[in-house]
Amino acid sequence: MSERKHVRELTVLTGGIAPLRDAFDADADKTRLLLLLSPT
């Protein structure tokens, strides 16, 4: 059984949303969730 060990990174969207948008589109063949949340 493979474990889902995962190094969590927080990508900062400083110059626009491109990193998130690009990740979203790169996974276009998948079912995806997008959550917009306040951290507190």
Binding site: L13, L20, F24, L34, L35, L36, S38, P39
Partner: protein, 135 residues
């Protein structure tokens, strides 16, 4: 509310759906006065699933971009929202409309308040459609 929603998504959706083709993008947005990058780093731990990627939207661009997509009242930033997209949906020029969504906002949005088990059931249907389509 958002932290509770995040935990609910982790425990009642992601942990219940063991499908490697599912992905989750969590955008942490400074909406409330105490919202800081450090709080986002801590809140990330509420969704530790390996299929999840976390982002810090320090300029609060995403809530404004999603407002018209979700048909929210003008001036309402889209936050505390949980959106699901089928395969094939692409962002490119503008955020696509989700297949379905839940929220923890007021009574205005024309979508259900977050019900994590119901969200999981809808997501299972979406994933089943994906399997049937051979994706």
């Amino acid at each position: 509310m958002c932290r509770q929603g995040a935990s609910a998504i982790q425990s009642e959706v992601l942990e219940q759906i063991d499908d490697s083709s599912l992905r989750a993008y969590i955008a942490w947005v400074p909406i409330l006065p105490d919202d800081k990058h450090s709080e986002a780093v801590e809140s990330m731990t509420r969704i530790p699933d390996a299929r999840a990627a976390h982002f810090w939207d320090e300029q609060r661009a995403l809530p404004e971009l999603l407002n018209p997509v979700l048909s929210l009242p003008e001036g309402w930033p889209a936050w505390d929202v949980y959106l699901a997209y089928p395969p094939g949906a692409t962002w490119a020029q503008a955020p696509p409309a989700p297949a379905f969504w839940h929220h923890q906002l007021g009574d205005e949005p024309k979508a259900p308040k977050l019900d994590a088990p119901a969200f999981a059931e809808q997501l299972r249907s979406l994933l089943a459609d994906q399997s049937r389509d051979g994706r």
